[in-house]
């Protein structure tokens, strides 16, 4: 697996606005996964996008993948205070379960 690096490191928005987080990785991948972590607790799997997919939706989440640029983005539409969390992207290249995390994007959604 290869490291995902998230950008920005911190993001503060108002409830109802959209939040966009970007991620870059270094080499070819099988898939890329996004996780959310609330208050330093367990990680929640949000979405997995395979290397042959360009866009994927899940509820208010939209993920894009550009393998030519080795980048991905996560869009959260109509954000809510409950979306306040750290978001990590993890690129995965077969051969095991080693997920390499960056420091994540800390999203704060204010009322």
């Amino acid at each position: 697996s290869q490291q995902g690096e998230e950008d920005p490191q911190a993001l503060s928005i108002q409830e109802g606005e959209n939040a966009t987080m970007n991620c870059s990785y270094k080499t070819s991948i099988n898939n890329l996964q996004w996780y959310r972590q609330n208050s330093g607790r367990g990680l929640v799997h949000l979405i997995l996008i395979r290397s042959n997919e360009r866009e994927k939706h899940s509820g208010r989440l939209r993920v894009t993948l550009d393998t030519s640029k080795k980048s991905s983005s996560l869009l959260i539409t109509a954000s809510r205070a409950a979306d306040t969390a750290s978001y990590f992207c993890v690129s995965f290249k077969g051969g095991g379960n080693k997920l390499t995390f960056g420091t994540g994007t800390q999203l704060k959604v204010e009322l």
Partner: protein
């Protein structure tokens, strides 16, 4: 489905002691990995177990060891605890395959004093 469960949730140990953390994988998952997450950092890979053997290892000293049982549950052992071992320890499980999601437990918060 209970998902990935870890025990205990919190633990306080004294420097030099030994600790054992436990993880039960999600039903149907056969691969378990452990991660250490220091405050303000992303999780760092410790090692992965599959078929009761350690298959991959991150950059952690031999003080960190583990085990996987026939029912796929796993333990993480840390010997000779250091203050720097204080962290959130996360267990992740997945079903073997290239495009399967890893599911995480809520973690064990270890404090070494």
């Amino acid at each position: 489905d209970a998902g990935v469960t870890q025990s205990p949730t919190h633990l306080i140990k004294t420097r030099g002691q030994q600790v054992t953390l436990r993880c039960s994988p999600k039903s149907g998952h056969d691969t378990v990995s452990w991660y250490q997450q220091a405050l303000g950092q992303g999780p760092q890979f410790i090692f992965q177990y599959y078929e009761e053997e350690e298959r991959q290892r991150g950059n952690f000293p031999d003080r960190f060891s583990g085990h996987q049982f026939p029912n796929y549950s796993s333990e993480l052992n840390v010997n000779a605890l250091l203050l720097g071992d204080s962290a959130l320890y996360l267990c992740a499980s997945r079903r073997t395959g290239e495009n399967t999601e890893a599911f995480f437990g809520q973690g064990t918060r270890l404090t070494v004093v």
